[in-house]
C-alpha cells in the first residue's frame, strides 16, 4: 500500500516537473498554456492521491479548487489574452534552448542536493517526490528570468506557484486549509492584476516584449 502510494506520487511529481521543463524547448504561448493546464491537472491528481492514501478529506477540496481555478479558469483567461496578441511568439529568449536545458538539469540536481536534509527529516511516504517539487520551483524561477515576453513570464510565475503547492502537499499534506484558501485568493488576484498589466504594456508599448521596457535602465 505504502509503496503504491509512494510510486504514484513520484510518477505524478515527475510529470509535473516534465511539463515545467516543456517550457524550455517549446515556442509559442499556446504550448505554454496547455503545458500549464496539464501540470495543474497533474497537481490536482497529486492532491487527490494524497487525500486518498493519507486519509485527508481537506485535500479533496484543494484538488477540486486546483482543477477549477488553475486547470480551467486561468488557462481560459490566458487563451483569451493570447488570442489578442497572436503574433507575439517567444522567438529569441535571453538563453537559447540547449543552454536552457543544461541549466535546468543542473537546477534539478541542485534541488536534490538542497532537499536532502528535508527528505531525511520527513517520515511521510510522499517524501521522495520533494526534490522534484523543488526542481520545479527552481526551473520555473529560471523560466521567469530568462524569457522576454510578459505572457511567458506570467506562465512561468504560475508554474512556480504550482511547484510550491506541490512542495506543500508532498511535505506536509498541505498547509492548513484556511491558509490554503488565502493563498489561492492571492494567486488568483495576482494573476488577474498581471493580466491587466499585460494589456497595459501592450497598450503603452505596442508589444509585450519586455526587452522594450528599458526606459528606466540606469
Amino acid at each position: 500500500m505504502e509503496t503504491v502510494f509512494a510510486r504514484l506520487v513520484v510518477l505524478e511529481s515527475s510529470l509535473a516537473l516534465l511539463f515545467g521543463l516543456g517550457m524550455l524547448w517549446r515556442r509559442g504561448v499556446p504550448a505554454y498554456i496547455s503545458a500549464f493546464r496539464w501540470q495543474s491537472l497533474v497537481l490536482a491528481a497529486v492532491a487527490a492521491t494524497v487525500a486518498h492514501f493519507g486519509r485527508d478529506r481537506e485535500l479533496y477540496l484543494v484538488a477540486a479548487l486546483l482543477v477549477v481555478v488553475k486547470g480551467v479558469a486561468i488557462p481560459w483567461l490566458l487563451r483569451g489574452t493570447e488570442r489578442r496578441f497572436a503574433s507575439e511568439r517567444e522567438l529569441a529568449p535571453y538563453v537559447n534552448t540547449a543552454t536552457s536545458l543544461v541549466v535546468a538539469s543542473l537546477l534539478v540536481l541542485f534541488a536534490y542536493a538542497i532537499m536532502r536534509p528535508v527528505v531525511a527529516a520527513s517520515h511521510l511516504p510522499t517524501r521522495t517526490g520533494l526534490p522534484l517539487a523543488m526542481g520545479l520551483v527552481l526551473v520555473s524561477l529560471f523560466v521567469v528570468t530568462s524569457r522576454k515576453k510578459a505572457l511567458t513570464q506570467v506562465v512561468g510565475f504560475l508554474m512556480l506557484e504550482n511547484g510550491i503547492a506541490l512542495l506543500a502537499i508532498l511535505g506536509a499534506y498541505g498547509v492548513p486549509f484556511i491558509v490554503e484558501l488565502g493563498v489561492f485568493l492571492d494567486a488568483l488576484m495576482g494573476f488577474l492584476v498581471m493580466q491587466i498589466f499585460v494589456y497595459r504594456i501592450h497598450e503603452t508599448f505596442d508589444t509585450i516584449d519586455v526587452d522594450q521596457l528599458d526606459r528606466l535602465r540606469h
Binding site: D186, G190, F197
Partner: protein
C-alpha cells in the same frame, strides 16, 4: 471594542466608502483622513497596552507584542499622512476624480494588508497579507499612466511576486520541520507555537527554510541583489504611495524577516542566522550608498537611500540585543523621514514638473517652507544631528563594538560617509541657484505643510532624546528578537 477592530476596520471602511461613492467626492477623502486617525489612535492604544506588560490577542489569529505595536504605529501613522496628503483632498492636486477614487480604494486596502500582516500571529496569513500588498500597491503605481510607470509596475509586480513566492516556499519548508516533529495541528503555523518549538526543530531544514525566507521577504524589503525593482517603483509611484512604500512597506517586509529570525536563530544558532542577515545588509548598504552618487533624479535618489537604510537595519539586526534596539529605532526614524521626504518630493515635482535634479534649482526661493523641510529631511536622512537617524546610527556603531565586530562597523561608517558626500552635492544644486523660467514662486497649499513639519519635529525630538515610552518598547522588542 477590541483594539484590533479599531486598528483594522477604518482602512476597510474607507476603501468601501471610496468604492460606493461614485463619482468621487472630496468628502470621501476627508472621511478617510478622520478614519485614518482613528486607526492611528488604536495603534497608540496597543502601544500603551504593551508598555503596561500586556500582550493583546484576539483568538488564535491576532496578537500584538512590542514588535507588532511598533510596526502598527509606523504603518497607521504613515497611512494617515498619505490619507491627508494624497490625491482627492486638496483642490488642485493634479489628479482627476477617477484617479482619486482608485487611489482611495487601493491605498486603503494596501494599508489594511500591512496592518494585518504585522498583527497576525499566523505566519501563513502574514505571508498572504504581504503578498497582497504587492497587488494592492502595484495597481496604483501607474496612476498617471506613462511608459516609465507601466514599466516600473510590471517589474515590481513580477519581481515582488516571485520573491514573495520564494518566501512561501521557505514558510512551507519550516512547516515541514514542525510537522515532522510534532505532527499536524491547525495552530502549527502560529509564530508563538513555532517559537516555542524552535529548540527541537531540525537545524538543517530550518537553515534551508530561512535562506528561502530571507531571499523572499528580502526581495520585498529591497535588499540587494534583489533590489532592482525598488528605485523604479518608488520613483514612478504617486508621492503618497511612494511615502507608504518606502516609509512602511519595506519595514513590514523587514518585520517578517525579524519574526523568522527570532525562530531560526534558536534552531540553527545565533551566528549563522546573523551571518546571513548581515551579509545581505552590508551588500545593500554598499549598493545603496554607491548608487547615490550617480543619480540624476531626486526621487530615485531617495529610493536608493531607502536601500541603504534597509541594509543598515539588517546589519543592526545581526549585532545582538543592542543592535536590535538600534535597528528598530532606525526603522522608526526611517519611516518618519522617508514618508516626509517622498511627500515633499511630490510637492517639488508638482511645481517644477520634472524629477531631474538638474531641472530643480532655487528651491529655497521658490518654496521656502517646502525647501527648508526638504533640506532638513535630507540632512536627517544622511544621519546628521540633531535628527533621529544620527542617534540610531550612533547606537548601531556602539552595538557593533560591544558585539566585537569592529571590521563590520568600519565598513558601515565608510559606506555611510560615501553616501553622505553623494547626497550633499545633489542637495546644494537643488536648494540654491536661479529660479528656472516658468516656475512660479510661493508655497502652494500651506496647510499640507503642517503634518510634514510635524514629521520634522518628531525627527528632531528623536535626535535629542529617546523618550521613555519608545525606549521601553524597543527594549521589549530586543528581548523578543535576541533573548
Amino acid at each position: 471594542m477590541s483594539p484590533f477592530a479599531l486598528l483594522l476596520a477604518p482602512s476597510l471602511v474607507s476603501a468601501l466608502l471610496a468604492l460606493v461613492v461614485r463619482p468621487y467626492r472630496r468628502v470621501v477623502g476627508w472621511a478617510n483622513g478622520v478614519l485614518s486617525l482613528l486607526a492611528f489612535s488604536a495603534a497608540i492604544h496597543l502601544w500603551a497596552r504593551v508598555l503596561a506588560g500586556d500582550t493583546p490577542v484576539a483568538g488564535d489569529l491576532l496578537r500584538a507584542d512590542a514588535l507588532s505595536a511598533l510596526l502598527a504605529l509606523c504603518v497607521s501613522g504613515v497611512a494617515a499622512l498619505a490619507a491627508w496628503l494624497g490625491p482627492g483632498v486638496g483642490a488642485d492636486d493634479g489628479y482627476d476624480r477617477g484617479q482619486a477614487r482608485t487611489f482611495r480604494i487601493f491605498a486603503n486596502l494596501f494599508a489594511f494588508t500591512m496592518l494585518f500582516a504585522v498583527t497576525t500571529d499566523n505566519v501563513g496569513f502574514m505571508w498572504v497579507a504581504i503578498e497582497a500588498t504587492t497587488i494592492t500597491s502595484a495597481v496604483l503605481i501607474p496612476l498617471h499612466a506613462s511608459r516609465a510607470s507601466v514599466e516600473a509596475s510590471w517589474k515590481y509586480i513580477l519581481i515582488g511576486s516571485v520573491g514573495i513566492a520564494l518566501a512561501f516556499a521557505g514558510t512551507v519548508i519550516a512547516y515541514f520541520d514542525f510537522v515532522a516533529m510534532a505532527g499536524r495541528d491547525h495552530l502549527s503555523l502560529n509564530w508563538t507555537v513555532l517559537r516555542d518549538a524552535a529548540p527541537a526543530l531540525d537545524p538543517q531544514v530550518m537553515q534551508l527554510a530561512f535562506v528561502f525566507i530571507l531571499i523572499g521577504y528580502g526581495t520585498k524589503a529591497g535588499l540587494a541583489p534583489m533590489h532592482t525593482w525598488l528605485p523604479d517603483a518608488h520613483s514612478e509611484a504617486p508621492a503618497a504611495l511612494s511615502a507608504m512604500m518606502s516609509g512602511v512597506l519595506l519595514a513590514v517586509a523587514l518585520y517578517a524577516v525579524v519574526r523568522w529570525q527570532a525562530v531560526a536563530q534558536v534552531t540553527i544558532g545565533r551566528g549563522l542566522a546573523e551571518g546571513f542577515v548581515a551579509m545581505l545588509g552590508l551588500l545593500s548598504l554598499a549598493i545603496g550608498a554607491l548608487s547615490l552618487w550617480s543619480q540624476r533624479n531626486y526621487k530615485r535618489l531617495l529610493a536608493y537611500s531607502s536601500i541603504e537604510h534597509t541594509g543598515l537595519v539588517c546589519v543592526g539586526l545581526a549585532l545582538g540585543p543592542l543592535g536590535v534596539f538600534a535597528a528598530m529605532l532606525h526603522l522608526l526614524n526611517h519611516s518618519v523621514a522617508k514618508s516626509m521626504m517622498f511627500l515633499l518630493a511630490g510637492r517639488v515635482l508638482h511645481r517644477y514638473r520634472t524629477a531631474e535634479i538638474s531641472g530643480v534649482s532655487g528651491l529655497l526661493r521658490v518654496m521656502p517652507w517646502t525647501g527648508g523641510l526638504f533640506a532638513a529631511g535630507m540632512l536627517a536622512v544622511i544621519g546628521l544631528p540633531p535628527f533621529g537617524m544620527f542617534v540610531s546610527e550612533f547606537a548601531l556603531v556602539r552595538a557593533g563594538f560591544a558585539a566585537g565586530r569592529p571590521v563590520v562597523i568600519g565598513l558601515v561608517l565608510a559606506l555611510l560617509a560615501i553616501g553622505f558626500v553623494g547626497v550633499i552635492a545633489h542637495l546644494n544644486r537643488m536648494l540654491y541657484g536661479p529660479v528656472p523660467a516658468g516656475v512660479s514662486v510661493g508655497e502652494g497649499s500651506r496647510w499640507a505643510l503642517v503634518p510634514l513639519a510635524g514629521c520634522a519635529a518628531v525627527l528632531m525630538v528623536l535626535g535629542l532624546t529617546v523618550p521613555a515610552p519608545i525606549e521601553t518598547l524597543l527594549v521589549r522588542i530586543a528581548e523578543i528578537v535576541a533573548p
